[in-house]
């Protein structure tokens, strides 16, 4: 077997692939954070909770959501249906559900904070993620639930230099497609140009007859849906737990600080690269793999405080 720096090449590529999978999630989440921050000026702490929600929608759908015995207090409602859906349906349902929650959150709560210091948005969404986390802990406990890999993507392909589990390949490809789609939507379409104009000067865009409040709501919902989609994609590769989002969101915050929130491409590239770096660390110095992102963040702050892709103010 071939070795590089004393590490079997199979293991090296295996970890790199795993890093790329994690990096895909970082990219999708930091992309959503960046888009929301750009237009709303809110750092969405609840992004982690939304990712968790997406994963739970998938898991619950697989198990079947029995709506014939909905217990509300002491009364039992019979809605007469049992919802059950597979992974492919979850890919649609997950983002939809999370996006709808996003609409409610924005219309009901975030809307009241736009004139205030952005710190309040962070605090509000922090409170929301505590609520979501607590509810799921209460009902499903802290132990992890596993979700079977969809049939069509089970198994692995031998690429010669490594054996690639099909599902991991799919996750990376899917997230690249989604990231590219989002970039295209924002940078190359009319809707995107309105969005970017709204980021610069919302009052002026509104004066041109654009419904800015609606755009803001949809942007938040879109970012939330991206997080939900990442959650559905993550369900088969990780343990689904109520805490999966809160642990990830802190890493994603570090990713965002490293990349700078100003640029779409920046968020995507930084996310993927940091995933790879984490994978490499897991091969050569596993003890540091949990914290390497934070080390890089500290170094970047020392050398280039605005972040790699950020603009100095």
């Amino acid at each position: 077997m071939t070795e590089i720096f004393g590490v079997p090449i199979q293991a090296l590529f295996g970890q790199l692939m795993l890093g790329l999978v994690n990096g895909s999630f970082y990219a999708m989440l930091s992309l959503g954070l960046a888009v929301i921050f750009g237009l709303l000026g809110v750092v969405n702490f609840a992004h982690g909770a939304m990712y968790m929600l997406g994963a739970y929608v998938a898991w619950l759908g697989y198990d079947g959501i029995d709506l014939t015995h909905v217990q509300v207090g002491s009364t039992v409602l019979n809605l007469g249906i049992k919802l059950q859906f597979n992974f492919w349906v979850a890919l649609i349902v997950g983002p939809l559900v999370v996006g709808l929650i996003g609409v409610v959150v924005e219309r009901l709560l975030l809307k009241r904070l736009y004139k205030l210091d952005p710190l309040y948005g962070l605090l509000l969404t922090f409170g929301l993620s505590l609520i979501a986390q607590g509810v799921f802990l209460q009902y499903y406990g802290s132990s992890g639930q596993s979700y079977d890999t969809p049939e069509a993507l089970s198994g692995a392909t031998n690429l010669g230099f490594m054996i690639l589990p099909n599902y991991r390949g799919f996750v990376v490809a899917a997230s690249l497609v989604v990231c590219f789609g989002t970039w295209f939507l924002i940078e190359r379409t009319r809707l995107g140009s309105l969005l970017r104009a709204g980021t610069e000067n919302p009052a002026l865009v509104q004066a041109f007859g654009v419904n800015v409040p609606l755009m803001v709501t949809l942007t938040y919902a879109g970012g939330a849906a991206l997080a939900g989609l990442a959650g559905v994609l993550a369900a088969p590769v990780i343990q689904v737990t109520p805490l999966m989002g809160s642990n990830l969101i802190i890493v994603v915050f570090a990713v965002v600080v490293i990349g700078g929130m100003g640029s779409i491409v920046g968020s995507i590239v930084t996310g993927l690269v940091l995933g790879l770096v984490e994978g490499l660390t897991r091969v050569f110095y596993p003890e540091a793999s949990n914290v390497v992102v934070f080390f890089i963040m500290a170094i970047v702050l020392m050398i280039r405080p605005a972040g790699l892709f950020g603009k100095e103010k």
């Binding site: 309040y120 605090l123 922090f126 929301l128 986390q133 802190i250 915050f253 570090a254 702050l301």
Partner: protein
């Protein structure tokens, strides 16, 4: 002590004296002293946090690292190095100050929302250290810590002795923070909070002021955490986690951001609420705390003390 009077009106001073008298007699009125002592530790923590957010305008989302980190160091010094409590406390505070210096120096390179994210990330990194380090007992933390004898003379094992020790330190911290806030240094901090570019153009080395505020705040937060070890006989992972950082924000916000009494009131409310809920609500406690957070941000941003002050002002304007 003329500075005691600055910015504190007569009603305020009377309120403080009544509160202090209540705290002194509370254990004799049947209130469980350990409960108040614990609340006082959190009150110290929240005052430290308020010094940073309320008076300097810096939102640290990682203050639990100093609170819980100092707790671990103090517990380790007491249990494994057999130091006397005052030295163990000092060790904990120094450790928190050192951590504050490093984290602060990195974090003040960014402003506003980024500052919050950077402190959150660095504190999270530190919590990994306390999970993995050989001397911290992993998931269990350090338990069964003996309080020992103050200066090797006076045993703190009795709950009453401990309570008055904690109360004395609380009063000391209170006066210290009051002094800091009303000193010329404190005025510069407020100037930075209100308008940082102007403070720079006036020739202040803003970064040095901010860093010193951060280190002071981290040290005082550490003192709160270190004291809590003596009160509860343990240091746990929970105290370094980000949820704890969130909780101190809630205490400060609920009590009244940037008001002097707010954090103390908020700490008592939150600790009391948690004690009340812990046997009754289980995991719902997190949900309720989260809901209070949301309500507070949406509709109650001034907090208890802030609302009270605003009400007082309205009344004064009417007459």
């Amino acid at each position: 002590m003329s500075w005691l009077g600055q910015g504190v009106d007569r009603a305020g001073r009377i309120a403080w004296i009544v509160a202090l008298a209540l705290l002194v007699v509370a254990p004799f009125l049947g209130v469980y002293p350990i409960f108040i002592a614990q609340a006082l530790c959190f009150a110290i923590f929240a005052m430290a946090f308020n010094l940073l957010l309320g008076y300097t305008g810096l939102l640290s989302f990682g203050h639990a690292a100093f609170f819980g980190g100092a707790a671990y160091i103090t517990a380790w010094l007491l249990q494994q190095q057999h130091l006397t409590p005052e030295l163990a406390l000092l060790g904990g505070v120094l450790a928190a100050a050192a951590a504050g210096l490093v984290i602060g120096a990195i974090a003040i390179r960014r402003q506003g929302i980024y500052f919050a994210m950077v402190t959150l990330a660095l504190a999270y990194m530190l919590s990994f250290f306390f999970l993995e380090a050989p001397f911290t007992g992993g998931e269990n933390g350090l338990q069964g810590i003996e309080r020992g004898k103050l200066f090797g003379l006076c045993s703190l094992e009795g709950d009453l002795a401990l309570y008055f020790f904690v109360l004395a330190i609380f009063v000391g911290v209170f006066l210290l923070v009051l002094r800091i806030v009303h000193s010329p240094y404190g005025q510069v901090l407020k100037a930075i909070r209100e308008n940082e570019p102007r403070a720079i153009s006036l020739g202040y080395n803003v970064d040095r002021y901010k860093l010193l505020a951060f280190v002071l705040s981290a040290s005082i937060a550490g003192l709160g955490g270190a004291l809590k070890v003596l009160v509860l006989h343990l240091a746990t992972l929970q105290d370094v986690r980000w949820e704890q950082s969130g909780e101190v924000i809630l205490m400060t916000l609920l009590g009244g951001l940037g008001t002097f009494a707010g954090p103390v009131v908020g700490a008592f409310v939150v600790v009391g609420l948690q004690n009340y809920l812990s046997d009754r609500a289980g995991a719902w406690t997190t949900v309720i705390i989260g809901a209070i957070f949301v309500l507070c941000v949406v509709a109650f941003r001034k907090g208890f003390v802030g609302e009270l002050l605003a009400w007082q002002k309205r009344r004064a304007n009417k007459s």
